[in-house]
């Protein structure tokens, strides 16, 4: 049942909840891996409970876990753990994002797991990583962004740095996890050796501002939240337009500036000596922003953005959630896909950030029902018969 893709033939077991771990699993599945999510009715992924009462129709869960297979297993029973160990023996990768110590308490620490499968690649996502003086600590994505030095750089100048949108962070951590796993697959391919990958969510978000951290170490100049100000570009920011819209602009050089002035029909602005050259515009940034903001409320943001782009001026309308899901361009560019689930329901999902030619992995299946693939997986991987599987279900080992 290969779906093609560069990771075809790779099997991943995912014991993960909420967002970062499942997002890593999804990316690997979107690249063609067979990703098996191990779940239990006794210890559900919280995302199956948010936003509704039907654990098979939970909106949060369905928004993340496409192209992943679901099997149930009671990890608190010896019999369930025996089956899990047999699954590990048949897998290439094991991912978790459980609380610090939880895997070890279940007998799934790296030493335990490599005893089952010596060349396994085990990746564990923790807030601060798996060991060290703060390795015991736990938190959520907005905490990672605060701790990692990212939120300090987001906010209006001279205010408490408000940080990124509260939703930012988990998925980025999942992407870093997926990358490390693929690198480890290369290492196994050439050396035969598996390994343990200890991923820190906080450090992942530090990496997203790495140039600022690096520059501080050399220059001693503390990076700050500066709204939309840019050290090398002015105008650079978001400007208010008609009907509550905003237009983003990033003008780097004099050619772009002249094209901007022509497009907005402001020859007086083009002739204003305060803004004549890039260095003048940077020096008079506040006056420039104020001057533009006097004119911009008359603009239709979308029309002006398109006119500016045609003139070679970097601009784009700021898009709301309503704009995004209604964007014909994003649909046409393949950012959204259609999948169907076990109930035959067709629904749109957000596709991957890439397209590949040839041999892109097919993406057609929605998030799984709880235990949807019990028979398929336990039959194909563990060689259990349907009646044996039914017996395990009846005795709540598969639960």
């Amino acid at each position: 049942m290969s779906r093609g893709g560069p990771l075809a033939g790779i099997r991943v077991l995912e014991i993960a909840k909420v967002w970062a771990g499942p997002y890593a699993g999804k990316l690997l599945a979107f690249l063609g891996a067979e990703v098996i999510k191990v779940e239990s009715r006794a210890n559900l992924d919280e995302m199956r409970a948010y936003g509704g009462v039907d654990i098979d129709s939970a909106p949060y869960f369905r928004s993340i876990n496409q192209e992943v297979l679901s099997v149930q297993l009671d990890m608190k029973s010896d019999e369930g753990m025996a089956h899990l160990r047999a699954m590990i023996a048949a897998s290439d990768v094991l991912i978790d994002n459980l609380r610090p110590g939880a895997m070890e308490r279940s007998g799934l620490g790296y030493e335990d797991v490599r005893a089952i499968r010596p060349d396994i690649i085990q990746l564990s996502i923790k807030m601060y990583g798996s060991d060290g003086p703060l390795g015991y600590q736990t938190g959520y994505a907005p905490c990672f962004a605060a701790l990692g030095g990212l939120n300090a750089l987001v906010g209006h100048a001279d205010e408490t740095p408000a940080g990124m949108s509260i939703r930012y962070g988990d998925s980025t951590v999942g992407a870093a996890a997926a990358l490390a796993i693929v690198a480890a697959l290369h290492h196994r391919e050439t050396s035969g050796e598996g390994q343990f990958i200890d991923l820190s969510a906080v450090e992942t978000l530090s990496m997203m501002v790495g140039d600022s951290l690096f520059a501080y170490g050399l220059t001693g100049e503390m990076p700050q939240a500066t709204g939309n100000a840019h050290a090398d570009m002015a105008p650079h920011g978001c400007y208010p337009c008609a009907e509550g819209q905003w237009l983003s602009l990033a003008i780097a050089d004099d050619r772009e500036w002249r094209a901007f002035c022509t497009t907005i029909d402001a020859q007086a602005l083009a002739a204003d000596p305060r803004f004549a050259h890039a260095s003048d515009r940077l020096a008079n940034r506040d006056a420039l922003d104020a001057t533009i903001a006097q004119r911009s409320p008359e603009w239709n943001a979308e029309a002006m953005a398109q006119a500016l782009l045609l003139a070679g001026v970097p601009a784009f309308r700021s898009q709301s959630s309503l704009d995004l899901i209604g964007s014909e361009a994003l649909w046409a560019l393949g950012a959204y896909r259609m999948v169907s689930d076990a109930k035959g329901e067709v629904r749109p999902i957000i596709g991957p950030g890439w397209r590949m030619t040839p041999d892109e992995a097919s993406i057609t299946r929605g998030a799984p029902l709880l235990g949807e693939h019990n028979h398929l997986v336990y039959g194909a991987i563990l060689g259990l018969s349907d009646s044996e599987i039914d017996d395990l279900i009846a005795r709540r080992v598969i639960w």
Binding site: I64, L153, G155, G210, G217, G227, W246, A250
Partner: protein, 370 residues
């Protein structure tokens, strides 16, 4: 041994996103050959500068080699072909027009892994390809929804630093290139990868935007549509800032204990966060909490909060991180060439990432073209 040892990657990228993607792969041990135009890569001209050199360039190009080629000149272009003939992958971040003009259109290198990163993907209108990171952050929705609780009259924000969408897309490009290189090891076949910076950003919002797309949640024009409600926010404390996220009654009980059960807290129902989290109550809570937290030192209060099971953490600055006890333990910053380099968040037991050489001078490895 490092994970990608033995693989050769040519980098013709000239923006942060492609340079970052290739650096992530160089960190795993791939031999990354950076192709710089005469005069040097454009990122060498971007500040801040230290001792006359771009810190940005230095951060993005450690572990790489450099050759200088004028790809508009036939002789140099032929040298690039010789490099590509022994390469496993090519990473580029120019628009399709530039790539076509230079014989590097996506699909033109079928025998290797060819990854091209653009703001909206290869099929977008040509004039959209000039978008810069602040435009991409606005096109993809993070700006509209940042920060949380944005008032409608305040501008959307571009995110952290100048290159957030570049880093996200670069991470995705590294992932796809590494995956495709695994396929090449196994099958010998190449693959073309088309990364869209905006599509990456949308994917990162799957759990919120995806529900709207599917009709499970209402989209809308409000700046607060990605928000979760509740009292979570950044607050000023005695010596900096902290971030509080509080969503359950256990968090509330823990915080009350941390504050020594102040009288004002008694007016809040025990389960207010779950069932009675009205805007008035949030405002009331914040007014009281703001006064209390302003008297607290961030490290001490965060440590106590962790023990009390309350997600209250430091808003760390660059200075805090360079001297951070956990970062030191994990070796997140590594010293090379007199500079502390932030590295990567994954510690790998068998094939650890190695920082082995500082960013090259322009054409430092020109001899390899001979």
């Amino acid at each position: 041994m490092t994970a990608l040892a033995g693989l050769v990657i040519v980098e013709t990228a000239e923006r942060v996103t492609g340079e970052f993607a290739a650096r992530l792969l160089a960190d795993f041990g791939a031999e990354v050959i950076k192709v710089e135009a005469p005069g040097g890569a454009p990122t060498r001209a971007i500040g801040p500068f230290h001792e006359g050199a771009s810190t940005l360039f230095r951060y993005l190009n450690s572990n790489k080699k450099s050759v200088q080629l004028d790809l508009a000149a036939p002789g140099d272009r032929a040298l690039l072909d010789r490099l590509l003939a022994r390469a496993d992958a090519l990473i580029d971040d120019h628009g399709p027009d530039w790539a076509t003009q230079h014989g590097l259109a996506l699909g033109s290198q079928p025998d290797i892994v060819h990854c091209a990163i653009t703001p909206f993907g290869q099929d977008a209108p040509a004039h959209w390809q000039v978008a810069r990171p602040i435009n991409v952050m606005n096109a993809g929705g993070w700006a509209w929804h940042t920060p949380s609780e944005s008032a409608p009259d305040r501008p959307p924000l571009m995110g952290a630093g100048r290159f957030m969408s570049d880093y996200e897309a670069g991470l995705e490009a590294a992932l796809c290139t590494a995956a495709s290189l695994l396929r090449k090891r196994r099958t010998g076949a190449g693959q073309a990868i088309d990364i869209s910076e905006v599509a990456v950003q949308l994917s990162r919002a799957d759990c919120v935007l995806g529900r709207m797309l599917a009709g499970d949640a209402e989209p809308g024009p409000e700046r607060t549509r990605y928000d979760m409600g509740g009292p979570g926010a950044a607050f000023a404390c005695a010596d900096g800032h902290v971030y509080l996220l509080m969503t359950t009654r256990a968090h509330w009980r823990g915080l009350c204990a941390l504050m020594s059960d102040p009288d004002w807290a008694a007016a809040f129902p025990e389960d207010w966060l779950e069932y009675h989290c009205t805007p008035d109550r949030v405002a009331d809570f914040r007014r009281h909490f703001r006064a209390w937290i302003a008297t607290q030192a961030k490290d001490a209060v965060a440590q106590a909060a962790q023990q009390a099971g309350v997600p209250l953490v430091q808003v760390n600055s660059a200075a805090d991180l360079i001297d951070h006890v956990q970062y030191r333990h994990r070796g997140f910053f590594q010293s090379l060439g007199g500079a502390l380099h932030p590295t990567v968040p994954y510690r790998m037991s068998a094939s650890p990432v190695q920082l082995h050489s500082p960013a090259p001078t322009p054409g430092a490895d020109q001899a390899m073209l001979a």
